[in-house]
């Protein structure tokens, strides 16, 4: 899905500049990369994998004061919280990364599924697999007994990371 998104955006860019040749080259190139990756790994390259790959080494997400989260290190898959250091499993790390890029905003379940698990995630896994992974992440973070939660969910809008407990989204007021 990640490579498809790139192909779509770059094709639009080429179309805007009236360059059919560039569009063809980009399209063929990205298809070859996708085929090469899937022949070696047996799966597609997901959006969050590309995000992790192109991220500068040592990148950290620092959260606002008052949040139980302090620092998130995506490459090490570690979260420094007020109670200690938490290690995230690879898929949980990718879910957290996707939400950390857009904090205080809900990301739809389908978008999360596609970005983390791949384009055909619904064919390969259960429709509740995103919910399952988020639940596991909540248990790891000790988020279940906390109100308001760090990872909030809302029907129709999806899941979102709200590091600052005082922030109230506009939805459903």
């Amino acid at each position: 899905m990640g490579l498809e998104k790139l192909q779509h955006s770059l094709s639009l860019l080429a179309q805007a500049r009236n360059s059919i040749e560039a569009e063809q080259e980009i399209s063929l190139g990205i298809s070859a990369i996708a085929r090469g990756f899937s022949s070696g790994a047996g799966r597609e390259l997901t959006t969050t994998e590309i995000l992790l790959a192109i991220m500068e080494p040592g990148t950290e997400f620092t959260f606002a004061q008052g949040s139980p989260l302090l620092v998130y290190q995506p490459h090490k898959a570690t979260l420094v919280t007020t109670t200690g250091v938490t290690h995230l499993r690879p898929v949980a790390n990718r879910f957290f990364l996707r939400m950390a890029y857009e904090p205080e905003c809900y990301v739809r379940k389908a978008t999360l599924g596609q970005d983390v698990l791949g384009k055909n995630w619904l064919l390969k896994s259960h429709s509740d697999s995103v919910k399952y992974y988020i639940d596991q992440l909540r248990i790891t973070l000790g988020d279940r007994g906390r109100k308001p939660r760090l990872i909030r969910s809302r029907e129709y809008f999806g899941y979102g990371l709200f590091p600052d407990p005082s922030v109230m989204p506009n939805i459903g007021l």
């Binding site: 770059l10 022949s39 890029y101």
Partner: protein
């Protein structure tokens, strides 16, 4: 920059596996030549641009600006309508947000409530009297959004034609 890093990372995963490496290398070479035509030096593109492409919202999540003459900007993900002449942001309830999402498909046109329900599997339909539920949600939404600069409501209703969203001061689209 971004694609060079990505190539290094992917090839690192396939160390000793010659076939995928060859394909991936050929793919990146072709991609770079395409980017060179688009004016990116050395065929590479800044990391921030690639990140923006990857994190771009899908069309149904995108912020809707209804074009020239529109007085409304609608963010379905945040359930927020910004009314530009008043400089006011109006938060919607989830049900109001659903109703407005349906109406944004074809602005400046009227839609029958029944037609909207049939088009989308709207969760409101679980109500026993869905027509009344729809009317009540629309009533509150209209009251919240108010009138445009000409004095007409943004969400209009007509006894025969149904409900319609009129984000600007233009009249009914008769095309």
């Amino acid at each position: 920059m971004a694609f060079e890093i990505l190539r290094g990372q992917i090839l690192g995963d396939f160390r000793g596996n010659r076939n995928p490496r060859r394909r991936i290398n050929a793919g990146f070479a072709q991609l770079n030549s395409g980017l060179r035509i688009l004016g990116y030096k050395n065929g590479d593109i800044p990391i921030d641009e690639v990140r923006g492409m990857l994190l771009a919202r899908s069309p149904e999540e995108a912020i809707i600006d209804f074009g020239e003459g529109s007085e409304i900007v609608y963010d379905p993900l945040q359930a927020l309508v910004t009314i530009t002449p008043r400089g006011e942001s109006v938060p919607l309830t989830p049900q109001e947000n659903r109703v407005l999402t349906l109406l944004t498909g074809q602005p400046y046109e009227y839609h029958h409530a029944r037609e909207l329900f049939l088009q989308e599997n709207l969760e409101l339909s679980c109500f026993y009297d869905w027509n009344r539920a729809f009317r009540v949600h629309t009533f509150y939404m209209r009251r919240k959004l108010g009138n445009n600069t000409k004095g007409d409501p943004y969400v209009r209703s007509d006894q025969d034609l149904g409900y319609g969203l009129f984000p600007g001061t233009a009249d009914l689209n008769t095309e």
